[in-house]
Symmetry: C2
Subunit: 143 residues, 2 copies
Amino acid sequence: MYTTPDLVERGGANAYLRGCASRSALDLLANKWVCLVVGALSPGPMRFGALRRRLDGITQKMLTRTLRDLERAGVVERTVYPTTPPQVEYALTPLGESLCGLMDSILGWAEEHMEEVEAARARYDERVSLPVDPLPRDAPARR
Amino acid sequence: MYTTPDLVERGGANAYLRGCASRSALDLLANKWVCLVVGALSPGPMRFGALRRRLDGITQKMLTRTLRDLERAGVVERTVYPTTPPQVEYALTPLGESLCGLMDSILGWAEEHMEEVEAARARYDERVSLPVDPLPRDAPARR
DNA sequence: CGGCATCCTTATGGATACTG
DNA sequence: CAGTATCCATAAGGATGCCG
């Protein structure tokens, strides 16, 4: 079981309440594109087009919207070089850089555990597609 | 600037590609309720109703769906005690517990930086609602 | 108590076309 | 190049009612 004094402290009474820091942070961070953009900018500033190519599959619309949200939140900084054609470069602010560790942890967890997740899903789908298998009639039933 | 050998290694060439581990992990984890549920279960197993009360504002539908997804992914385990009325208890699996550190980091980041985010948003909204302020005409313009 | 089923509204996000 | 604007399909998610 996972517990730390800190978690007990923070997770106690009214963590997870509607307006608290964790909730608003998750409103910002619990977003696929946000995480990917921050991750992509970790190594250094990047132009719009480069970001788009790096984040395979993102549409121009979603990239623009995500970058605006992050700029507004103070996580990225947008610099326009008034050349022709225009160049727009995005970089993490110090606040944005404070997220890199987090994003890196997610990446690490992904590579360490996603296979296990896939396997669990396969087992689950296997089980639910089975006919009613009569479990042994002792202690708590697990589906 | 944030760089680690690891990040350069992992974030190189084709991280963030469509089918890779990071993408599927984000499909699972970049979800408000998923994070909150894992966080809520960190201290120990909890019954459905307790979870619902703890996660202020979640609907029964979303809680059920989230728990099913997590059960399928092997992150939580569902145990039914066939009493009347029925009791259903949810607990993190070892895989689920491997996420606690991550969730805790997010909580920590939130409490450390969300005020700064709010402030940045206020400044941003201030700036964009201003009339066209003529910037000094030197190097790169920042919006 | 812990769901599932249904209806319905809103948000998300893709495709496409146009612009400085 | 780096957007903005528009339209449209689908998904997310809330409200409500019923059930074992």
